[in-house]
């Protein structure tokens, strides 16, 4: 591989496209990061506050300049307020996505949609029973309507706790109650965070951060979980299947449509519309061999998990995929879609099509998504892509690599089924030490870290040391491209994990979905804790976000830690301006919720931290363990 772009990416397809970009002088995210250097230290340390117009203010971290904002807030308050608002923005993103799914589900229950159906009836019945919606002898639409109404209540402020909290071990629920961080309403916690961080409301950094945990919990056990569960009901609960990944998933002779963003609502309908005989015939008429769909980011993860639609790439591939010259349309919903894609698409024939009225991009075509005519909208979008195909320069095709195979579809239900219907085999393997524990490796790409290096190296070290890994979001793409996500990858794992994977025919790294599907990881962790009769923080589990960039990742970090799982971040969050906030999050929090954060950019060292943590939890449970301190730190 050309070494020129190695500090930017470790992926061959990305490096080849970057060479082309350099040749054509097309600016990418890495160029823009270089132009932003140096980044503002106040902002990177969390020491700037622009919440009011008495300021904006900044605190001098060297201690000689201003130590208080105009209002009197010190570094602790300013850092905590900023972090609180990041959590609220992240939790709001996941939760608004959840609400969109819920509203479509609500409309479906009333017969007001096209292109949707209840695909997983059994899951609908399970959810209804869980939330106390009567099911006996009632028509399915009535049950769905009552379930939708019950979940809509979760967004408001009329409840003492969210509906799905029954899944959380009782001891953890009691802890949350004692700390005053039980999530009550999804919108409520976010609004309250914005209120608390207004000037002159919550001036106690500990109190702000505790509410930050509650805000995160309203996402993980609320907004994200609702998004996952209802998406399963609507589009089917994922089951294991094979698919393909990287820029090689594009086909030079097909109409290529990339589905990018996070919400599966429209993309799932486009998957149907692309198979419509009318559309296929139209594509052939224009000289294409067929219609090929590829996913990007979490919309890609959603349709990969459920439909096996191949993925073109993760976050940092979104600009590069356009440069292949064979992408006819990029259909976007929302979140993590760089405004830059519109600029790059101007250099090619690619049409960028926006679909949500809350997410418009100047320069893109906007086709408004409406649940009552979703299928027609889906067909219109496919038609536009076919039109763009006719404008393609056939000589400009640059598909740089062959696709890699990967296995996907590991919902909690699918994992339990693979285990024979009970967590017992997994628990037994953990107990005897064949599997030391499990880690969720999640989150984004960040151009500061060489693309996918953090994900790939961390996951490789974990499986080599018999730690089962589950991935979502961008980590999925990174690991699949590295060949980590096929059953044969069991050979890369340590002897214990290898034998378990081979017995079950599964890869050592399991794909659990999109970033809202991190809620699946929470549910699995809670189920294991309940099965063993312990709290989640006693389990040999860890989470990591080696290349995170987004506010959503901060919300995820908050709910993971508040649920009792140790979390390692690969990029420094903007908190280092306050020693007290760092002390709380990286140390003292362990005495409060049984888990804490660590920051470690080097994935080799992050793997060491996770291994030590998992062994210390094994020790706590009285399982065979290796002395944590004896595990070397690179």
């Amino acid at each position: 591989m050309n070494g020129r772009f190695r500090q930017w990416t470790i992926q061959e397809d990305a490096a080849k496209m970057l060479e082309y970009a350099a040749e054509q002088r097309i600016e990418t995210v890495w160029d823009r990061l270089a132009k932003q250097q140096p980044l503002c230290g106040y902002c990177e340390m969390g020491l700037s506050c622009r919440n009011c117009t008495m300021g904006p203010c900044r605190i001098d971290p060297f201690g000689e300049g201003p130590q208080k904002g105009v209002c009197g807030a010190d570094a602790d308050v300013i850092v905590a307020r900023n972090l609180g608002r990041m959590i609220a923005a992240g939790a709001s993103s996941h939760s608004d996505h959840g609400r969109d799914i819920l509203e479509t589900f609500h409309a479906l229950a009333q017969g007001k949609t096209t292109g949707y159906q209840i695909t997983d009836e059994a899951k609908l019945f399970r959810l209804a029973a869980e939330l106390g919606v009567p099911t006996d002898g009632r028509p399915i639409n009535e049950i769905a309507l009552d379930l939708a109404e019950a979940l809509l209540e979760d967004f408001g402020s009329r409840k003492e706790q969210l509906g799905f909290l029954g899944r959380v071990p009782e001891v953890r629920r009691n802890l949350w109650k004692k700390l005053g961080i039980t999530p009550r309403g999804i919108d409520r916690e976010n609004v309250e965070m914005l209120h608390r961080t207004h000037m002159g409301v919550d001036n106690d950094y500990v109190n702000i951060l505790l509410h930050g945990l509650r805000t995160g919990l309203s996402d993980g056990w609320g907004g994200s979980l609702i998004a996952t569960e209802l998406s399963d009901v609507l589009f089917g609960t994922p089951t294991p299947k094979m698919s393909q990944i990287n820029l090689g998933a594009l086909k030079a002779d097909h109409v290529n449509i990339a589905l990018h963003g996070h919400n599966p609502m429209l993309s799932s309908v486009i998957v149907q519309a692309a198979q419509d005989p009318e559309m296929v015939a139209l594509a052939r008429e224009k000289g294409a061999a067929g219609i090929n769909l590829v996913g990007l980011c979490c919309t890609g993860n959603e349709i990969l998990m459920r439909r096996g639609v191949p993925m073109a790439g993760n976050h940092l591939m979104q600009e590069l995929v356009i440069m292949t010259g064979v992408l006819d349309a990029m259909v976007v919903d929302y979140q993590c879609i760089m405004p830059a894609v519109v600029d790059i698409a101007r250099c090619f024939h690619t049409r960028i099509i926006t679909t949500f009225d809350k997410a418009k991009f100047p320069g893109a075509a906007h086709i408004s998504f409406e649940a009552n005519r979703a299928y027609e909208t889906g067909k219109e979008i496919v038609r536009q892509a076919i039109e763009a195909f006719s404008l393609r320069d056939p000589k400009a095709a640059r598909i740089p690599v062959e696709p890699m195979a990967m296995m996907t579809g590991f919902s909690v239900e699918a994992i339990l089924q693979a285990l024979g219907g009970t967590p017992e085999p997994l628990v037994a393997a953990i107990k005897d030490g064949a599997i030391r524990g499990a880690a969720g490796v999640i989150g984004c790409n960040n151009p500061k870290i060489p693309q996918d290096y953090g994900h790939i190296v961390l996951c490789r070290r974990l499986i080599e040391n018999d730690i089962l890994v589950v991935v979502t979001g961008c980590s999925t793409v990174a690991n699949a491209k590295a060949g980590h996500m096929v059953p044969e990858a069991a050979d890369l794992a340590g002897p214990g994990l290898r034998s378990v994977c081979k017995a079950l025919g599964i890869p050592p790294i399991l794909h659990m979905g999109s970033c809202v599907d991190n809620s699946r990881i929470l549910v699995l962790a809670a189920a294991l804790a309940n099965y063993l009769g312990v709290d989640i923080d006693q389990l040999p589990l860890a989470g990591a976000a080696p290349e995170w960039y987004s506010e959503k990742a901060v919300a995820i970090g908050a709910y993971v830690v508040a649920s009792g799982i140790f979390a390692v971040l690969g990029v420094h969050p903007p908190i280092f301006g306050s020693k007290n906030v760092v002390q709380l999050l990286a140390s003292d929090l362990e005495q409060v919720v049984g888990a804490k954060f660590a920051v470690e950019p080097d994935p080799e060292r992050a793997a060491g931290l996770i291994r030590r943590h998992i062994e210390s939890k094994r020790k706590g449970l009285g399982l065979p363990f290796v002395e944590p301190e004896s595990i070397p730190m690179p």
Binding site: P38, G41, F62
Partner: protein, 208 residues
């Protein structure tokens, strides 16, 4: 001799000095109105990234004496102002030949249209030491806006002495094994910089 001294380890790369500099050299001296002026006021201090993330250096005219730019200027547009010991440019005489840029040891000469009462014309633009402000008893705009003490205005010998004292302490600590003084960089800054250093290391390891 009074000058703007850079306390390198203090710079956090916020670039507020750049903005304050441009505003100080606008007609309105107002941060909002300045953005609507034609020609746009330009910064004369340049915060450039260091070799690793989380490091930066604010670079500007050091007002050398003798000044290489002044020596090569064919029209004598560049002159020494003895009142404040500054190297200044007379825009009316400047022919934008860029000779000064070629010899400047710090690469701080830039070329932009400047109005100065007459029609705007591209001329050499660089730090003028905020001579006007200093005459009014103010410190240069970049120094005023720097809240971390990376830019200091004062007598060069006094400013250098502060560093000399710190080095002396370090040497004596090493020689006599007395308890070392606290780090000149407080913990929050050290932790922030360690993040930048770690990421830069990952990148450079990959490059090899």
């Amino acid at each position: 001799m009074k000058t703007v001294f850079v306390n390198i380890e203090r710079c956090v790369g916020c670039k507020q000095c750049e903005f304050a500099c441009a505003v100080a050299h606008s007609r309105s001296k107002d941060p909002v109105q300045a953005l609507y002026e034609d020609p746009l006021p330009r910064k004369r201090i340049h915060v450039e990234p260091g070799p690793v993330f989380s490091t930066a250096f604010p670079n500007k005219c050091r007002h050398c004496d003798p000044a290489p730019c002044m020596q090569v200027c064919p029209t004598a547009a560049i002159y020494r102002d003895r009142e404040q010991d500054l190297v200044l440019i007379q825009p009316a005489k400047c022919i934008a030949c860029a000779m000064c840029a070629m010899v400047c040891p710090f690469d701080v000469l830039t070329y932009y249209p400047l109005g100065n009462g007459g029609p705007a014309r591209v001329v050499a633009v660089k730090c003028d030491g905020c001579a006007e402000r200093v005459r009014k008893g103010l410190v240069p705009a970049c120094v005023e806006t720097c809240k971390v003490g990376a830019l200091l205005y004062g007598d060069i010998n006094e400013l250098v002495q502060a560093g000399r004292l710190r080095e002396a302490t370090a040497v004596l600590v090493a020689a006599t094994a007395v308890a070392p003084p606290p780090s000149p960089v407080p913990q929050p800054v050290a932790l922030w910089r360690s993040g930048g250093t770690a990421i830069s290391k990952l990148r450079s390891v990959q490059e090899r």
